[in-house]
Subunit: 370 residues, 2 copies
Amino acid sequence: MADGLNMSRRIRRTPYTDRVEQAGVRGFSVVNHMLLPKAFQPSIEEDYWHLREHVQLWDVSCQRQVQIAGPDAERLVQWMTPRRISTAKIGDCYYIPIVDRDGGLINDPVMLKIADDRFWLSIADSDVLLYALGLAEAKGFDVQIDEPDVSPLAVQGPKAEDLMASVFGEEIRSIGFFKYKRFDFRGTSQVIARSGYSRQGGFEIYLDDSSLGHDLWDTLWEAGQAFSITPGCPNLIERIEGGLFSYGNEMTRENNPLEYDMAKFIKLDGSVDCIGLAALQRIAEEGVSREIRGIVFGGGRVPTCSKPWPVMVGDRQVGQITSGVWSPRLEANVGLSLIDRGFWDIGQELTVLTPDELERPGRIAKLPIE
Amino acid sequence: MADGLNMSRRIRRTPYTDRVEQAGVRGFSVVNHMLLPKAFQPSIEEDYWHLREHVQLWDVSCQRQVQIAGPDAERLVQWMTPRRISTAKIGDCYYIPIVDRDGGLINDPVMLKIADDRFWLSIADSDVLLYALGLAEAKGFDVQIDEPDVSPLAVQGPKAEDLMASVFGEEIRSIGFFKYKRFDFRGTSQVIARSGYSRQGGFEIYLDDSSLGHDLWDTLWEAGQAFSITPGCPNLIERIEGGLFSYGNEMTRENNPLEYDMAKFIKLDGSVDCIGLAALQRIAEEGVSREIRGIVFGGGRVPTCSKPWPVMVGDRQVGQITSGVWSPRLEANVGLSLIDRGFWDIGQELTVLTPDELERPGRIAKLPIE
């Protein structure tokens, strides 16, 4: 491959990569040592409009599952997150921040409770498996930790439910948001959740057998023709507007869950046994010094945001945009930034400095950005 | 970026990326959530010949340092590896396999002993920092674990020593293989080791201040003009011939150090306290069922090896090539494969199955492949 990403076994293909290539993928990213398609349409903007109107098939196999099983599985997962997980039932999906001793974010997976003694963590881009392996030693927990052969395929967009019903039956419509049920595919039982990395509605199929990858893709692709299906991928414009954060972009270990409006998810009253509890209690007591916000700003179409862009109020830097892009719907740029206390009110006027040396006027916007 | 890898903050730039782009980089890979240049020359073969004859400047910042410091630093590092590290002196670099409880390989970094209570692990592609964080909890070790602002720049090739001496002085020549010394650069003290991911000789500069990145690159680049310097990167042909393995390609957690001729590095007599000791003792007693080997095979130039290629003896699969490429020097293909016991003798004849549906005749070769 002369340009772009070089391929090797280290950067793993997925059960759908052959199909994605046949569908004309125009670029990949790498998440969890695995390929994530990053572009199909001639432009990210066409892709955005299509996602809001129709339905797309996304290869999100890179959302690897860290499977934690055994008598102490729940205790280990609980020790990694400040969200109370004992309330989860089989069939529930919980968004759980994973933290270190200082409350710093290690990852922000979706947890699926598969059985009373078995959990999947559907992870963002860091090796949570290695963290879990280390922590399991810490308390001598009786658990098995591995990465099963599970490759999520997402069906996203307003027509997703109709498409899924045409393939898996009407029962699909009964799945609640962030719940999963099991459905038959070729005589196998597959986990299907109402979830996904967009705000347009949809499902994720946690295919647990790579050898069925082509068949699953083809089945949805063929049924999808009636719904104007296209191949797709997480859309940067849509996710920024939707206030969906990306680990490694908006969040690193320098950050804590309280900066991301996760207070509603987490339990700091001492009733859960989490490694970061004391640190998070201290942070909560003092109050966070910055919080995540949406930014809408002008100055014409921005370049790619590969280095954070300073956000200024007067001469003071109050934040940095870690993901930013032109929104054709708003005819303005949109971005995500942690913003310092005192400057984070909705409507606050500010300036964004981009590498093209423009000073772009903007303001803080409510998330999701309407 | 229309084709290839998409850029974002999550896939981190390095202190040298601006220069690498100015030098005409033609592709990147991703290692440790960071960009690794993958091609400059019109072909990997021109790059190979140049590396064997002259000198190259490689941005290997993706070899991130996991810094483990504090009173229990040595105990924690020792617990992660079966190699005895108490023998290391300040200034030593040790190649240390990092293992899990089953003896499975987590990573294969170079350890630099920076002080009696401070170590750097210069890692391959997995989040060793998260593993260390978890393990540190295990025994209540008194350590600080972080990723310092250290960005290795490699100078590789037979003219590397002369180039480095012209910049840092004659003292450079006194650095032993897998040793480091400290040298002044712009009034700062920088670690420079005689090491690198090639067999052509050279150095790695562990620049510990990103803001000096452009200056360091430019200084070596200008001095390098007298030595026919080019920008470069780890060369697939050269590393396969040299028997340099790649974590994620040749090695995963399914593998153990004894399969990679590391018995000479590791200590299984019970005198070191390593998490994987008991498992490795069992494996050593039973004998490994496969070992790494070089393969030389024909059938003309192979395609890119993004999925392993089966290695057959008759109808039996005895291995799989995980890295393979055409060698213009040997006018044959070269590859690396774990090979089953009974079939791993040098000279064993075999067949390699490649995705172009060719059955390619080959044989097992001694590493490095001369």
